[in-house]
């Protein structure tokens, strides 16, 4: 384990909670299902030339906090989150934010954008990895499958699509709404190299990213818990609702290892 990174993760999660609480902003559940992966990618995996696309734009808060933890955003920036006259709306605008290349928020756009970046890198023969983080419900969008087929056909092995499989979407369980059953085998059947790991364990994430295909696009499916560490961990409410004062206090205690969730 990496104690420094453990500490940084904890600080970042607390900062994410604070930011959402201060702005009274929802969508916090999806932020907490993917912040471990976002922090792992940006601190322990990605090189300076690599690119990242947050296709699940509703997890903008987790991305802003990750950029804050890298020193690319400061506390003054975060104070404006989801407020008037901000550069940091609830879904990334794609302008004025370091490292954010595109506006995202409408689902199903990221994989194609990432495929275009990967195609450009391949054409220029650049040593550059493109990472794209999607939600699992997002794969109900047909455009994701268009992008996957295209990426496999063009052997875009410098593309890594990461899927935050928390099993909950806007109005119910993904399994109950439009289920793919086993998303891993569905994506694998398109010809991508697919791995599935615990999305809250950065050692497993790193290990899988060290085991990528150099012939095919890579897909990493993360088993995650929506709203992890929050009072509504794994519940539908975490998709939309902001935190009350008590809920905020409980969540902080959980992240600090002092709670009983």
């Amino acid at each position: 384990m990496n104690k420094d990174f453990d500490d940084l993760l904890k600080i970042s999660k607390l900062r994410l909670l604070q930011m959402h609480h201060e702005s009274n902003c929802g969508h916090i559940g999806g932020n907490f299902s993917c912040i471990d992966a976002l922090m792992t990618l940006h601190h322990l995996v990605m090189r300076p030339a690599d690119c990242f696309i947050l296709s699940k734009g509703h997890s903008a808060g987790a991305l802003y906090i990750t950029l804050w933890s890298l020193g690319k955003l400061n506390d003054s920036d975060l104070k404006t989150f989801s407020k008037d006259n901000t550069l940091f709306p609830g879904h990334p605008s794609g302008s004025g934010i370091p490292n954010v290349l595109f506006p995202t928020g409408s689902l199903g756009h990221g994989p194609s954008l990432a495929a275009g970046l990967a195609l450009a890198a391949k054409h220029k023969d650049l040593d550059k990895q493109i990472y794209c983080l999607c939600s699992d419900g997002e794969w109900q969008e047909g455009s994701c499958w268009e992008a996957l087929a295209f990426s496999v056909h063009h052997k875009l092995s410098d593309l890594t699509i990461v899927i935050d499989q928390n099993g909950l979407q806007g109005f119910g369980n993904t399994e109950d709404i439009v289920s793919y059953g086993d998303l891993t085998s569905r994506i694998s059947s398109f010809g991508a190299h697919v791995q599935r790991v615990n999305g809250h364990n950065y050692l497993e994430i790193i290990k899988s990213l060290n085991n990528q295909s150099s012939e095919r696009p890579n897909v990493l499916i993360l088993d995650t818990i929506k709203g992890k560490d929050l009072h509504f961990s794994g519940k539908m409410e975490s998709h939309y609702l902001p935190l009350s004062e008590d809920q905020y206090r409980i969540a902080c205690a959980n992240i600090n290892g002092e709670g009983d969730l």
Binding site: L101, F102, L113, L119, A120, F150, H153
Partner: protein, 299 residues
């Protein structure tokens, strides 16, 4: 215009920083583009949403990108990708919609593009509607932001010479008011009035760019106090007629009469060639003649 377009692309844009994407279209038109572009030519398959996203990714990495399809598949199917991926980031991607208006005639209404200019214009995309084959070279000199190029057929009268390119230009002189025609309809109006004496016909202006700022003072001077006819193979909502009327209202310019003929969609519920649909809308050669004579259009 497909062949003129392909020729212009090869002569002007076959450079290392250009990509050409097609949504599986271009048979008997783009073969040479494919050959000279090599691995910068990508058939993205029948997946237009992905094609626009890929174009955005390429453009973000410094490439200029053509994205080609039949017009409705080019602008309508991936509308949100154009809005979010291209326009919000202002990327240099040229959407090429072949077969604007009713150009795909017998292929039926799914293949017609009647609201494309308004839809793209509303997103801030630069809209180009060449009237003549030569226009395309002038239009491709530079594109550094989202652009929509609507291709049709050049139908100028045989043996005539097209004036030098300008977004608004007079192609036929006349003294009885002014006809403003969108893109290829300038050729139709030109055909309709070529044999009419100058003193008895309106002048014909070809408009090839949807940009109010490009309406020249010479046009406004010419039309003030006279009859104005606007014809377009496009629906009325958000079309050229509305743009011209608004621009004149804002400048306080009055005309003696205003006649607008446009795409009526499918008023009889029947389908046919481009000529059939143009006739139904009163924007074919006979329709333009009768319009100038003040006859009411009936379909």
């Amino acid at each position: 215009m497909r062949k003129a377009f392909a020729k212009a692309v090869i002569s002007q844009c076959n450079k290392e920083d250009y990509f050409f994407l097609t949504g599986d279209l271009g048979f008997m038109a783009l073969e040479e583009v494919r050959a000279v572009f090599g691995d910068r030519f990508i058939n993205a398959g029948v997946a237009e949403q992905n094609m626009i996203g890929v174009a955005a990714g390429l453009a973000r990495e410094g490439f200029k990108v053509f994205s080609y399809s039949i017009a409705p598949f080019c602008y309508a199917r991936p509308f949100e990708q154009i809005r979010n991926d291209l326009c919000l980031t202002n990327l240099p991607v040229c959407l090429v919609g072949n077969g604007g208006g009713y150009a795909y005639g017998y292929m039926g209404p799914t293949h017609h593009a009647l609201e494309d200019c308004a839809a793209m214009n509303s997103l801030g995309v630069r809209v180009l509607v060449p009237a003549f084959d030569e226009d395309i070279s002038a239009m491709l000199i530079e594109f550094s932001f989202p652009t929509y190029l609507r291709l049709g057929y050049d139908v100028r009268p045989k043996g005539t010479e097209v004036p030098q390119y300008a977004p608004w230009r007079e192609v036929l002189s006349g003294e009885q008011g002014v006809i403003v025609a969108l893109g290829p309809l300038a050729g139709i109006a030109w055909q309709a009035l070529l044999d009419v004496p100058v003193g008895e016909r309106p002048s014909v202006w070809a408009v090839t760019e949807f940009d109010d700022k490009k309406i020249p003072d010479a046009f406004l001077t010419r039309v003030a106090g006279r009859s104005l006819f606007v014809i377009e193979e496009h629906v009325s909502a958000g079309g050229l007629g509305m743009h011209v009327a608004l621009a004149m209202a804002l400048k306080g310019i009055q005309v003696s009469s205003f006649v607008h003929r446009f795409a009526l969609r499918y008023p009889t519920g029947r389908f046919g060639s481009q000529g059939f649909h143009r006739a139904q809308c009163g924007i074919d050669v006979d329709g333009v003649r009768s319009m100038v004579l003040g006859k009411k259009h009936e379909y």
